[in-house]
Amino acid sequence: MSSTGIRDRVAIVGMGCTRFGELWDQGTNDLLTDAAVECTTSAGVAIDAIDAFWLGTLGAGNSGITLSKPLKIGYKPVTRVENFCATGSEAFRNACYAVASGAYELVMAIGVEKLKDSGYSGLTGIHKVGDGTNAALSSPAAFSFLVPAYCHKYGVDPDEMSSVLNRIAWKNHRNGAVNPRAQYQKEVSLEKIAASPRVAGQLGVFDCSGVSDGAAAAIICRAEDAYKYTDSPLYVKGLSLVAGPAAGAIDPDYDYTSFEEVVRSAADAYQQAGVDDPRSQLAMAEVHDCFTPTELVLMEDLGFADRGTAWKEVMAGTFDRDGELPVNPDGGLKSFGHPIGATGLRMLFECWLQLRQEAPPERQIAAVTEGRRTLGLTHNLGGAPGECVSFVGVVGTERSE
C-alpha cells in the first residue's frame, strides 16, 4: 500500500468530549452542542470561525443538516460520513485532508451517536434491502469466532484463554474507574467478570463493550497556524484507513486469529509517521476493544506483541496503565460503551489529554510525564473478523525536522 501521508502538516488545536453513558436526558442535538462548545472553547474560537465540518454518525441522522441545524451553522460545508465503527475516525481523517489540501484553514471533526433510545439490547442494524440470506449473528457472536480459533492455533487452553480475556476486561474497567467521562466508573473484580452470564460463545457480558450515548469533537488547523490557538498542539503523524475485500468471510485460508485490515492500516500509518517499533516508540494506544478477544488479537496485529504471544503479554501486564505500553488508559470501549460516530474521536481525546499532560494525575502515563515518549495511537475497527474496515492514526506533541 502506498501513501505519502500528511505527517506534521496539520494539528489538533482544540477538543471536546461529553460524558458517555445512558444519557436519557440528552438527545442527539444536546450531545452535538456540548461536544462542539467544549471543543471551540478549548481552541478559543467561535463556531463561526470554522470553515468546514465533518460529522460522523452511523444512525443519529442523515446529511450535514444533522449538525448545522442544532448548532445554527450558517451556510458552511458540512459533510456527513459513515464507515461502520470507524466512523468517528473517518470524520477526523477527512477533515485533516481538507486542511492539508489547502482548501480550508480551520475545520471541525465531530462524531455522535444516540444508541440508548432504540429500546433494544446491543447494537441494531439499519434496514437494508436484502434477500434474507445474511446470517443474523449478533456482533459478540461474530467476534467470538476469534476465541476457539486462537486457542486452536496457538494451543491455548480454553480456561487459560478465559483468564486472559477476563484480565483485559479487568484492566480496562480499572482504567475507566478513574475517568469521570466513562460510562462505567467502577473497578470490576476478576471473579465477577468470570461469573458473568454468557452472551455468545465463550464471551460473557463483561467481555462486551457497553451500549451508550456520547459525542466528541476536534478542531484541526494547518500545523504552522497551531500556536495561534494553543501552546500545546497535537500534530497528526499518520492516518490510514483500509476496507478489506471481505476475504475472511469467504476464503478458507483465513483462520480467524488476525485482522488483515488492521495489519495493513497499521503498516501504512507507521510508515507515514516514521514509526518502526511501535511497542517502544508509542506512549499509549487507544484500540478498538469492542470485545475482549478483539483487543487480544489487536495487540499482535498492531505489532505490540509477536504472533501467538499477546495472551502471555496480557497476563504479564504489558498493556496495563503502568506497563510497558499502556493500552486503553481511558478505559476503552469497555468503560465508555461504543456510540459509533463518537468513539474514534473519544480515543483521540485521551491522546489529547495524556500527551499534553492534562490527564488527571491518577491515570497519567509515566512515559509521557517523564518525557520519554511523545506519540499516541488510535485504532478503530468496523465490521467483523474477516470482513471489516480498520483505521490507525498516530499523533504526537513534537513536530519533526
Binding site: Y120, D131, A135, P140, F145, V199, A200, G201, D255
Partner: protein, 497 residues
C-alpha cells in the same frame, strides 16, 4: 421398460416428541412411543425440498419436467408453494410446478397425476404434512411430520400399475375451517362406519380390475387418519397379517397426507421382483391401486444404497427424542415465548430474493473459471484473481463441509434460542458463514462435519424467509447427501444468480 416409479425420497425431521412428555405436562400421565416433529425452522415446503432432494440423489435419475406438490398445511395460500420446492431443488425454469393443496386426499391425486404425466415426461410428486392439534388432543399426540417424494418416468419403472378403483362419499369425519389452528372430528364410531364399506369396495374393485385375488397380495398398505377404520381394514381384507406393511406410527406418528407414501417407500425398499403391492388410502372416500414390482427394482435398490440413502426402516429409528413439550408448543405457535430484546428480523425483499434465486433457494456458488476460486455467495469479481464475469455456477447444497470456527449466540433473534453460528469450509473449496440447525450446541467443535438443509429461517410481515443451514452429520449415517463432485446446475440463468 415400464412407465412407473423410478425413484423416491423420504424425509423425517430430526426431532421426536415422546408422548409421555405430553402426559407429564398435563399431569395425566401415560403415553407410549413418540411422534416426529418438524423443527422450529421447518414447514411443509422445506420438508418437501428435503424429500425431493433424496428422490433426485441416486445417479442417473432423470430430471423432472413437472413437479406436483401436495399438503394439507401449505405455507402460503394464493402463492404456489411448489415453486419454492422447485427452486430449492435447483430445477430448470423450463418446467412446471403446481400445488394441489388443501385436503389429505389431494395427495392421492398428486401421485396419480404425476404417474400419468410421468408416462410422457419425468414427473415428481412431493407430499408433505405437518400435523398439529390442540395441546393434549389426539391429533397432537398421534400425528407426525414428514415428507415423501416419488419420481415417475416413462421407462425404468420399478412398479407397473395393474388396476385401481375409487369411492367417494360426502360426510363429516374431520375438517378445519381455514385459519383455525386445529382440526375437528366427529365421533370416532361414525367415521369408522362410514369408511369401512367405501374402502372395502375400492379394494375389491381394484383387485378385480387387476385380476388379482386377495391371497396373491404380497404387500398391503392401508393408511388414513381414521385410525379405527384403518386398523379394522388391515385385519379384514383377507390379506395375511405378515403381508400388511407397517406404518411406524408408534415412533413417528401418522404423517397424514404423507403416510401412504412413507409406507409405500418402505415396501419398495424391501420388495422383490414380481410382487403385488396394494395401496389403500382412506380420505373422504377411499382410493386403491394395485402395483406389481418390475425387474428394474433390484438395480434401483442397489443404487440407493450406494448413494448413501437411508432406508425408511432405519430413518424411523433415528432422530432425537429429548424435546421438551414446552419447546414443542413454542415451535408450533401454541406458546408465546418472550423474545430477546432485539429488533424483529428483516423481511426478505421480493426483488432481491428473485435476483439471487440461485443462491437463496438453490445454494449455488460461483467458481472462477480462470483460477478456480469458489465464492459463497456468488460474486462477479474473483477474490483470488480479480477476474470479472468469468464465473460458472455450482450447486453446493449437496456437498459436505467442515466447521472452521463456531459460536453459540444467546443474543441473536431466534425462534428457538440460542442460535448456533458456524464458519463452514466446503469440500473442494468455498467458505460460508451461517446458521446450524438440528444440533446439540454443546457438541459442535472445530472439525465437525456438516451437510446443508433447506429451512424456513423465520417469517416476517407474512413473508417466509427460506434459506439453507448446516447440520452435523457423521459420514455414512444421517447425512444421506453424499456428493464429492458438484452437480452441474439444473437451473438456467446467469452464472452469478
Amino acid at each position: 421398460m415400464e412407465p412407473g416409479i423410478v425413484s423416491w425420497g423420504v424425509y423425517l425431521p430430526y426431532w421426536r416428541l415422546e408422548r409421555r412428555a405430553i402426559g407429564q405436562a398435563f399431569g395425566t400421565g401415560g403415553g407410549k412411543g413418540s411422534r416426529a416433529v418438524a423443527s422450529y425452522d421447518e414447514d411443509t415446503t422445506s420438508m418437501a425440498v428435503e424429500a425431493g432432494r433424496r428422490a433426485l440423489t441416486p445417479p442417473g435419475v432423470p430430471e423432472p419436467a413437472d413437479l406436483f406438490f401436495s399438503t394439507p398445511a401449505p405455507a402460503y395460500l394464493d402463492k404456489t408453494n411448489a415453486t419454492t420446492v422447485h427452486a430449492g431443488l435447483g430445477l430448470a425454469s423450463g418446467s412446471g410446478a403446481y400445488d394441489l393443496c388443501g385436503s389429505v386426499r389431494s395427495s392421492w391425486a398428486t401421485l396419480q397425476l404425476a404417474a400419468l404425466a410421468g408416462a410422457r415426461a419425468p414427473a415428481l410428486a412431493v407430499v408433505a404434512d405437518l400435523r398439529t392439534g390442540l395441546p393434549g388432543g389426539p391429533d397432537e399426540t398421534q400425528g407426525g411430520d414428514g415428507a415423501v417424494a416419488f419420481l415417475f418416468a416413462a421407462e425404468g419403472g420399478v412398479t407397473q400399475q395393474l388396476g385401481h378403483a375409487s369411492c367417494t362419499d360426502e360426510f363429516l369425519d374431520r375438517w378445519r375451517v381455514p385459519g383455525e389452528t386445529a382440526s375437528r372430528q366427529w365421533e370416532d364410531r361414525f367415521g369408522e362406519e362410514a369408511y369401512l364399506p367405501l374402502a372395502r369396495s375400492a379394494f375389491e374393485r381394484a383387485l378385480a380390475d387387476a385380476g388379482i385375488a386377495a391371497g396373491d397380495v404380497d404387500h398391503l398398505v392401508v393408511s388414513g387418519l381414521q385410525a379405527r377404520a384403518v386398523a379394522g381394514l388391515k385385519k379384514s381384507l383377507g390379506v395375511p397379517a405378515d403381508r400388511v406393511a407397517p406404518d411406524h406410527a408408534g415412533v413417528i406418528g401418522n404423517l397424514g397426507a404423507a403416510q401412504t407414501g412413507l409406507a409405500l417407500a418402505d415396501v419398495l425398499e424391501r420388495a422383490t421382483v414380481g410382487q403385488v403391492v396394494v395401496v389403500v388410502e382412506l380420505a373422504d372416500g377411499a382410493d386403491a391401486v394395485v402395483l406389481r414390482t418390475t425387474g428394474a427394482l433390484p438395480a434401483v435398490q442397489e443404487a440407493r444404497r450406494e448413494a448413501g440413502l437411508t432406508a425408511v426402516a432405519d430413518l424411523v429409528g433415528e432422530g432425537r427424542s429429548d424435546l421438551d413439550y414446552a419447546v414443542y408448543l413454542s415451535w408450533r405457535g401454541m406458546l408465546h415465548r418472550e423474545p430477546p430484546r432485539r429488533p424483529d428480523p428483516e423481511r426478505p425483499d421480493a426483488p432481491a430474493s428473485r435476483r439471487t434465486e440461485g443462491w437463496k433457494f438453490g445454494f449455488n456458488a460461483s467458481r472462477c473459471t480462470v483460477c478456480g476460486f469458489r465464492h459463497l455467495p456468488p460474486t462477479r469479481v474473483c477474490l483470488s484473481c480479480q477476474s470479472v464475469d468469468q464465473m460458472t455456477s455450482e450447486r453446493m447444497a449437496d456437498l459436505r463441509g467442515t466447521v472452521a470456527t463456531f459460536t453459540i449466540d444467546h443474543l441473536a433473534f431466534s425462534l428457538s434460542p440460542p442460535m448456533v453460528g458456524a464458519v463452514i469450509d466446503f469440500d473442494g473449496g468455498g467458505r460460508y458463514r451461517g446458521e446450524m440447525t438440528d444440533v446439540d450446541p454443546g457438541s459442535v467443535a472445530v472439525g465437525t462435519r456438516v451437510a446443508m438443509t433447506f429451512r424456513r429461517l423465520y417469517t416476517t410481515e407474512g413473508v417466509h424467509n427460506y434459506f439453507w443451514k448446516a447440520r452435523p452429520v457423521s459420514d455414512g449415517s444421517l447425512g444421506e447427501m453424499d456428493g464429492s463432485e458438484p452437480e452441474v446446475n439444473r437451473a438456467e440463468g446467469a452464472a452469478t444468480s
